[in-house]
């Protein structure tokens, strides 16, 4: 096909060969290849520019429908996906489990099959059960994006974190990244461990021993018992949200004690490298895992993460829903 003056003849605008993602879904970082991750990050760079325009819209996904199926509460991630889809001119539908027929006892599979019958072009799902997105991806022809499944993975968060670090530092390989807090229950931590390790960074974890996953070193990471030991060694400090509900679970005595040992405040920050990046997936518990002065300070890239989240999600929607997928050509 020689339309577009040769631009579609096997080469992209930069002259490089055309690329694509390996599968029809984005379910986790663990199974993704390095090339795929780089493609997503490169594509996200171009999409970031769209959000700086006066008219923040491109017609690329015009006529496509993206359904956000969120079984767990979320404002940040869901809004980010919604904005991303709308900036691509796609139509979006938000379904939260509490207000849907799940309340009437409809199963996950039925909910998904019903939605599929309305011909969406992409399904974004967040669910408290690990593997739920994978189940849907197997059963449905529609591309599925995992927006968080239990404590398993949160791939789009890791991708935007990788993007942010790469943007600020120019690279990821060779960097040292600390992840601090409730590693045990954190899908953000897991996805980031997979992502940063794949891209050549070293991961250093720290948090209460009660929140340390068994045999976590098998993921190729180092564990430190104290935040102080890690702070001066790393280029990036990623703070995890401590869920206030965990207080009663016997993981730590009080929030104040947690904060004293694993909270990031100005005092602790003094030991960090001058170029350190402070990250947090949000929402923040100001004064618990992170002091307000640190969250709002000059080393924090927390808001950049949010901006980049939209760009990365635009890139994913573009890469997944563009073109007629093999699976969509089913005889019907």
């Amino acid at each position: 096909m020689a339309d577009y003056e040769g631009r579609s003849a096997g080469r992209g605008p930069s002259g490089k060969p055309l690329l694509g993602l390996a599968g029809k879904d984005i379910l986790g970082i663990q199974e993704m290849g390095l090339g795929e991750i780089e493609l997503i990050l490169d594509t996200a760079e171009s999409f970031k520019e769209v959000s700086t325009r006066e008219i923040k819209k491109v017609p690329t996904l015009r006529g496509k429908t993206v359904i956000n199926l969120f079984f767990e509460a979320s404002t940040r991630t869901r809004t980010s996906f919604e904005i991303a889809a709308k900036r691509l001119s796609a139509d979006t539908i938000n379904i939260s489990a509490s207000s849907s027929s799940v309340v009437k006892g409809e199963t996950l599979i039925d909910t998904a099959k019903n939605l599929e019958a309305m011909k969406p072009d992409c399904l974004v799902i967040r669910h408290s059960a690990a593997g739920a997105p994978h189940l849907l991806a197997r059963l449905m022809d529609v591309p599925v994006i995992n927006a968080g499944d239990g404590a398993h993975e949160h791939p789009t968060q890791a991708l935007l974190d990788l993007f942010t670090v790469r943007e600020k530092r120019g690279k990821i390989a060779g960097l040292k990244v600390a992840i601090v807090g409730d590693i045990l229950h954190s899908r953000v931590a897991r996805s980031n461990i997979f992502g940063f390790t794949k891209m050549g960074a070293e991961i250093h974890l720290t948090g209460p021993e009660t929140m340390r996953p068994a045999e976590v070193e098998r993921l190729g990471v180092r564990w430190y018992p104290r935040l102080e030991e890690v702070v001066s060694e790393v280029d990036v400090i990623m703070m995890l949200r401590i869920q206030l509900e965990r207080q009663g679970g016997g993981f730590f005595p009080t929030l104040r004690e947690y904060s004293r040992f694993f909270g990031l405040n100005l005092e602790v920050l003094k030991r960090a490298r001058p170029e350190v990046l402070i990250m947090h997936p949000g929402p923040l518990n100001r004064g618990v895992e992170i002091a307000p002065e640190v969250a709002d300070g000059p080393f924090s890239v927390i808001l950049d993460q949010v901006t980049n989240g939209v760009a990365v999600r635009m890139a994913l929607l573009y890469l997944l829903t563009g073109g007629e997928r093999e699976a969509n050509r089913s005889p019907s």
Binding site: A2, D3, E5, S8, P13, I55, T60
Partner: protein, 182 residues
Amino acid sequence: MKRRDKELVMDEEAMERALLRITHEILERNKGVEDLILVGIRTGGVYLANRLRSKIEEIERMKVPLGIIDITLYRDDFAIGLPQPLVGKTEIPFPLTEKKVLLVDDVLYTGRTVRAALDALIDFGRPKFVQLAVLIDRGHRELPIQADYVGKKVVTAAQDEVAVLFRELEGQDKVVIQEGIT
């Protein structure tokens, strides 16, 4: 698969002369460079726009602003089963309202790229007008689009490929018609 070179359309000197002539035509028709903005369409158009910009600077002693447009997101063949091209960055760091935009591309063929570029431009403001400069016009238009400034018109078969090579990218300047793959 590497295509075979069928015919040399322009060598380095011819390209240089054509660009110089186009530069003079642009300056003549627009009576100078006031409010003029060059916008190159990725990727070939960007190299050409840069060259036009230097030539304008040599003649008028003024630097004309330069923008870059990537039309990938505005294509109309997006849903036709191709693996997606890598999306390049569009860089238009200034509003286009009331500006005279000179769109630059290397080859004008079906006109669909220019259609997409116009769509993209309108999102950045309301230009006073848009003019189009191309190095090669190879006919076979599928939309009512014409260039204001043309380096050379060539006759081609639909399955041929017109390749514009740049010294910055491929090490040499030339335009060749390559044999079609049927």
